[in-house]
């Protein structure tokens, strides 16, 4: 029997396999940031260990960093200490670091692909659950905890039990105004936040093939929101074209060798997935979440559901709690919900295509008076690219705030937070209680819906303008 893509990458990286034990898997690339690494470096120091492969490790500052006045010292002393600790650790252990102000600084999952160090067939880990983003290149990429960060720093390996595999088949053609964000929100609503637990997802089908690399990254990014540690897409010409000529892409004979390997990275026609899910792209519409987990989503044209209509007691209880937290009443049309803040950014939707698509909707118009629009590019390079295309002016002229790169309001570790009771339409990945600021309320949307909502003041798609 043939192998799935995930099984192929897995078996290529097994260092040691003993019956009754997890496989020891080699890690090709380890991404580091300031929040989940300090205790890991401490562990190395305590045990008198080195970083085994600094040349397969790269760090950036993203979670904590301010998006205003980045030329000044970080104002929050606790954030500053954490960032300074990363700088000291990288210096001590010889790890490459892109600090605030550096042209390569940005959200770790935006930086890897733009440098070309994210490539097909690799194993990639990071102490961040959205590492699944890199799966868009046909890499096996997943988030790890700090103990595992230390393990990879020390040994460049991880002991892991191979997950099962699940195919997410998305056939058909997306309608105008429907994006890859809507695909993944629909997938999560269908299988639930636990549906992918224990699986590696492989996104397949004509609708996935038609997506750009950046749109594919959005899909893979939110695999974890469906419970799956990793989600991937087989590499194809779109992937190869994206990687080629990036700073760390293979060149010359290495490119040819890499390409001939990458072309083998598909699921064999006779391979069997442990589970398959089908979605029809023709039927998808702009999606929005109404609750406090990413599985609580509906098409924008729907209304807030009635918890009493949920047959499962757990879902009913969760819906009741969610509506109370979100201050929403059953039956309210989603399009009538008024929003205070729109956040355009994050590792889910903070890349150049996301900014371009939102700018196209906003160009020449003004955002609703009652609302603030925060635009946070995913990396310093994305910001520079956007500025060279004049997108910053489009946003600023419309009344938006144009910021520097980082995770920002996706998780509110820096000063970019919602106030208690404030409601946001956000292109990020999590609508958890208080995620974007204590007491804040989040509706997850695509960049197109975010832009239209910013103009209208209520949840809207460009077609509603």
């Amino acid at each position: 029997m043939g192998k799935t893509l995930a099984e192929k990458i897995w078996s290529e990286h097994v260092v040691s396999s003993v019956a009754g034990e997890p496989d020891l898997l080699y890690i090709d690339l380890h991404l580091i940031h300031e929040v989940t690494s300090p205790q890991a470096f401490d562990g190395l120091r305590l045990a008198n260990r080195k970083v085994r492969r600094p040349d397969l490790t790269i760090a950036t500052e993203d979670h904590n960093v301010p998006t205003l006045n980045i030329d000044k010292p970080i104002a929050d002393p606790v954030s500053k200490l954490q960032v300074d600790t990363l700088r000291k650790n990288c210096e001590e252990f010889g790890v490459r670091l892109h600090s605030l102000g550096d042209v390569e600084q940005g959200i770790v999952h935006v930086v890897g692909p733009q440098l070309g160090i994210t490539q097909p067939g690799m194993t990639i880990v990071c102490g961040d659950s959205h590492t699944s983003t890199h799966g868009a290149f046909g890499a096996l990429a997943f988030g790890i905890g700090t103990s595992e960060v230390e393990h990879v720093l020390a040994t460049q390996t991880l002991p892991l039990v191979r997950p099962k595999t699940m195919a997410i088949n998305v056939e058909g053609t997306l309608k105008p105004g429907v994006t890859s964000k809507d695909i993944i929100l629909a997938v999560i609503a269908k299988i639930g936040t636990g549906g992918g637990q224990g699986y590696i997802l492989e996104y397949r089908g004509s609708a996935i093939r038609a997506l750009s690399m950046e749109a594919r990254m959005t899909v893979c990014n939110m695999s974890i929101e469906a419970g799956a540690r990793a989600g991937l897409i087989a590499p194809d010409q779109t992937t190869f074209d994206y990687v080629k000529d990036k700073p760390h892409a293979p060149a010359g004979a290495d490119w040819d060798a890499a390409l001939s390997y990458w072309e083998t990275l598909t699921t064999d026609s006779d391979a069997k997935f442990d589970k398959e899910i089908n979605l029809n792209a023709d039927e998808l519409a702009p999606f929005v979440t109404w609750g406090t987990n990413p599985g609580q989503g509906l098409p924008l044209s729907a209304s807030v559901p009635n918890p009493a209509d949920f047959s499962n007691a757990e879902d009913r209880g969760a819906a009741e709690r969610a509506l109370e937290y979100m201050d929403l009443k059953p039956g309210t049309p989603l399009k009538s919900i008024k929003v205070d803040t729109v956040f355009l950014g994050s590792c889910t939707n903070g890349r150049i295509e996301d900014l371009r698509s939102a700018a196209e909707v906003i160009k020449g118009k003004k955002i609703a008076q009652s609302l603030r629009l925060l635009v946070v590019p995913g990396s310093a390079r994305v910001r520079l690219q956007a500025e060279s295309e004049g997108l910053d002016k489009v946003f600023i002229d419309a009344g938006a705030e144009w910021r520097s790169a980082g995770c920002s309001m996706c998780l509110g570790m820096n000063p970019d937070q919602l106030k208690p009771g404030e409601r946001a339409a956000s292109t990020s990945n999590r609508n958890f209680e208080g995620r974007q600021g204590k007491g804040g309320r989040t509706h997850l949307v695509s960049p197109l819906v975010a832009a239209a909502t910013a103009l209208k003041g209520t949840l809207a798609s460009p077609a509603d303008l």
Binding site: G20, L24, D76, R96, D128, G145, E150, E314
Partner: protein
Amino acid sequence: MEKFIKHTGSALPLRRSNVDTDQIIPAVYLKRITKNGFEDGLFAAWRNDPTFVLNQPQHKSATVLVAGPDFGTGSSREHAVWALQNYGFKVVLSSRFADIFRGNSQKMGLLTVILSQDEIEKIWQIVESKPETQITVDLESKTVSYQGVTLNFAIDDYTRWRLMEGLDDIGLTFTKIDEVTKFEEKRASYKPKTLPIR
């Protein structure tokens, strides 16, 4: 890591599903650079509500957390495990755990036990009516027992052995480090390196 063989203690009934790691410990608490002192951030937002179960005096000394399904979803922050351990929890019972949270727990010696939702419901009811109920979680016999009831749970033999011996994964991997070196010698030359900077 501390060995885990058997633990007996009272329980905290947390009747909520999808308890994500942002609820277990909000991001603002993640700025610290140590592994301890996170107990003040545990369920920080919910603890503002005086009726929240963790604030109820009858559950003050609980060491076994009994949670709804899909516990530990979301962010990979191991701080969620540290916060639970710093507060004093030794075991979490749930019908479903998020993968990364479960992995992090097993690295740190916080035992995560999967029971059916029916069994969780029964434990909630007992603990809510008799908060002093003692629950014993025995990793050796793979059982959870309380008031004459004994439930079996599954855990893979390797993880069980590692937890019972309190073994550090990194130390175990170093016993195979020659195999890692051999693997590295065969890696393709086109694989990317982060250094030197291009």
